[in-house]
Amino acid sequence: MGNVLIVVEQAEGQLRTASLSAVTFGKKMAETTGGKLSLLVIGSGVDKVAAEAANLGAADVTFVDDGALKNYLAETYAPIVVKAAQEKGVSVVGVTATAFGKDLMPRVAALLDAGMAADVVAIVAANKFRRPMLAGNVIAEIEVVTPIVCATIRQTEFAPAQAAGAASPVAKMDAGPIDAKGAEFVSLAAAKSDRPELTEAKVVISGGRGMRESKNFDELAKLADLVGGAMGASRAACDAGMVPNDLQVGQTGKVVAPKLYVAVAISGAIQHLAGMKGSKVIVAVNKDPEAPIFQVADYGLVTTWEKALPELMTEIGKLKAAQR
C-alpha cells in the first residue's frame, strides 16, 4: 500500500507539459509514503504518450487505449482512474489542476469515497497539504482523513519532472465498460498561438482594460515577442473582447508564476492578483499611482502604456543588442 497514481494529461496524442508538475508531486509523495509511483495515460492512440511518460522515472506506466476515449469526458475517464487506483493499491491519486484535472478529480474522489485536496501548493505529510484559499489571501493546512487521498496540484509550485535515465515498464490496461452517461463531446474551438503557453512561460506580459481595444494588444504582443514571453490579460480585457478568454490570468483564469510578470493597464483586483502573485518579479505600468497593483509590484512605473511601450521596446532592444 501507500502507492501513488498520477494521471498524465494528453491532448491529441501529445503529452501536456502541465502534467510534469503532477509527476514531480507524485515522486515526492512516493518518497513520503514509501510506495511506488505509477503513471496513467488515457485516450485513443496514446501508446506514444505512454512511451514518453515512461521516461519520467516512475515505477511503471499504465495506458488505456480505446477509440471511445478519443475525446476526454469526465464520465468515461473517472471510472478508469478508479479502476487503475484499485489495481495499483494506491493511497494517493493526483493530477495537475488544469481544466482537465479540476473537472476529473472530484468525480474520481466521489467514486472512491475519498477526500480531495484541491490546488495543492506543498506537501506536509502523506495526507497533509498546504493550499491557498480566499483568492490566495490565506494558506490553509488541511488533512485528508480517507484511506485514499485525491489531489489536484498547482502547476506553478512543482517543477516539471525531468526525463530519467532508464525507461519504466509500460503496460496496457483494459478500459472496462465505457459509459458516457449521456454526455457527448461536440467540439473544441481552440485559440492557436505561436507564443509560449501562458502557464509555462518565463515571462508574461499582460494587458488590462486600460488597453482599450484589441488592436492595442498588438503593441503588447510585440513586447512579448521581443522577450520570448507569453501574453496574458485581465478579465476586463477578455470580457471586452480585446483578447481570447483563455488568456485570462486570475482566480478564475490561469495561475501563472513566471520569472517576470508585466502588468500593463491592470488595476490589480484581488481576483487578478490571485493568479499572478507568485511571480518572481512583478512590474506594473499604470497611469494611476494609487492603483492596487503597485502594492504587489517590485517595480512600478506611473505612466501611460502609450508612452511606456515604445520606450520599453527601444530600451530592451538596446539591451539585447549589447548582450549579443
Partner: protein, 277 residues
C-alpha cells in the same frame, strides 16, 4: 424544467482577510452570496423564463427554480436574495460553516435531489472561500449523472431533454452535450448578454450584462415565498468530514517594491538588480 440551484455564503472577497490565531476571524466578516452561485441563479432564471425587452418574463408552472443552501440560520439572508431575484422556493439545511466539506455538501445535495427530483442542478464553479472546485463534480459522480463544468454558454436542446454547454477549458472553448438530468457548474461569462438560450425567449434577446438586481416587487414577493428548513440529521446525512482544515495562515508577504522614474531605469533594474532580462 425544474432546476435546483445551490447557494453558499462566503466572506465578501473585497474585505481584508483577518485571522484569529489559526482560524478566520469571522466577527467582522460581511457574508455574501458566493458570486458564482448568484450567476447560477441568474442562469436558472434565464433558462426558465420567457423574457422580452419589456420585462423579466413569465415562467410556466412546470418551470421552477429551487435554491438550496447548507449553513447556519443566517444563510436565510442569502436565500431571500435569490427569492427576490425570482427563484420560487428555497431550502435551508442547517449546518455550521466549518462542519462542512465538499463531500458532506455533495451527499446532502444528493438527498435534496432525490426529494425534489430536478431536471438540472446548477452550481457555481467554485466557492470563493474554499476554492475547492469540488462539490459539483462530486455530486454528479454520486448521482451517476453527466456533468458540465466551467459553463460559459448553455442552450436547451433536443426538445428539452438535453443541454449544449460551452465550457471554458485551457485551450479555448469546448462544447459538450449532456442529457438531462445533469449537473452544470457555471463560470464568469455565463451572465453575458447572449450566453443562455432556452428556446422560449427570442434567441437574439440581449440580457443586461451580469446577474439581475432584485426589484422592489421582487423583494416584496420574496417575503411571501417559503424557505423550507431541514437538518443534515433529518436528511440522513452523517456529517463526518473527509477533509479537515488544521490551520490557516497569512501567505508570505511580498517585499515592498519601488517606483521607478523612467523606462530606462526600469530596464536597468530588471537587468542588473532583478536579473530577469
Amino acid at each position: 424544467m425544474k432546476i435546483l440551484v445551490t447557494a453558499k455564503r462566503v466572506p465578501d472577497p473585497e474585505q481584508k482577510v483577518k485571522l484569529k490565531g489559526a482560524v478566520l476571524d469571522v466577527s467582522a466578516v460581511n457574508w455574501q452570496l458566493n458570486q458564482f452561485d448568484e450567476y447560477a441563479v441568474e442562469t436558472a432564471l434565464r433558462l426558465t423564463e420567457n423574457a422580452s425587452s419589456t420585462g423579466a418574463g413569465a415562467r410556466a408552472p412546470e418551470d421552477q427554480v429551487i435554491v438550496c443552501g447548507i449553513g447556519p440560520k443566517d444563510v436565510q439572508q442569502q436565500l431571500r436574495q435569490t427569492l427576490a431575484m425570482g427563484a420560487d422556493k428555497a431550502i435551508l439545511v442547517d449546518g455550521a460553516d466549518d462542519a462542512l466539506d465538499a463531500d458532506v455538501v455533495a451527499r446532502t445535495l444528493q438527498k435534496i435531489v432525490e426529494k425534489e427530483k430536478p431536471d438540472l442542478v446548477l452550481m457555481g464553479k467554485l466557492a470563493a472561500d474554499s476554492e475547492s472546485n469540488d462539490a459539483g463534480q462530486r455530486l454528479a459522480g454520486l448521482l451517476g449523472w453527466p456533468q458540465a463544468t466551467f459553463a460559459c454558454t448553455v442552450e436547451i436542446t433536443d426538445g428539452g431533454k438535453a443541454l449544449s454547454v460551452g465550457r471554458e477549458v485551457d485551450a479555448g472553448m469546448e462544447t459538450k452535450k449532456v442529457r438531462l438530468p445533469a449537473v452544470v457548474t457555471v463560470d464568469l461569462r455565463i451572465v453575458a448578454p447572449h450566453a443562455v438560450k432556452n428556446g422560449k425567449t427570442a434567441s437574439d434577446h440581449a440580457y443586461a450584462e451580469g446577474p439581475r438586481y432584485a426589484s422592489l416587487k421582487g423583494i416584496m414577493a420574496a417575503k411571501k415565498k417559503t424557505i423550507e428548513e431541514t437538518t443534515l440529521a433529518a436528511l440522513g446525512v452523517t456529517p463526518t468530514l473527509k477533509v479537515k482544515t488544521i490551520a490557516l495562515e497569512a501567505p508570505p508577504a511580498r517585499k515592498a517594491g519601488i517606483k521607478v522614474q523612467s523606462v530606462e531605469e526600469l530596464v536597468q533594474k530588471l537587468h542588473n538588480e532583478a536579473k530577469v532580462l
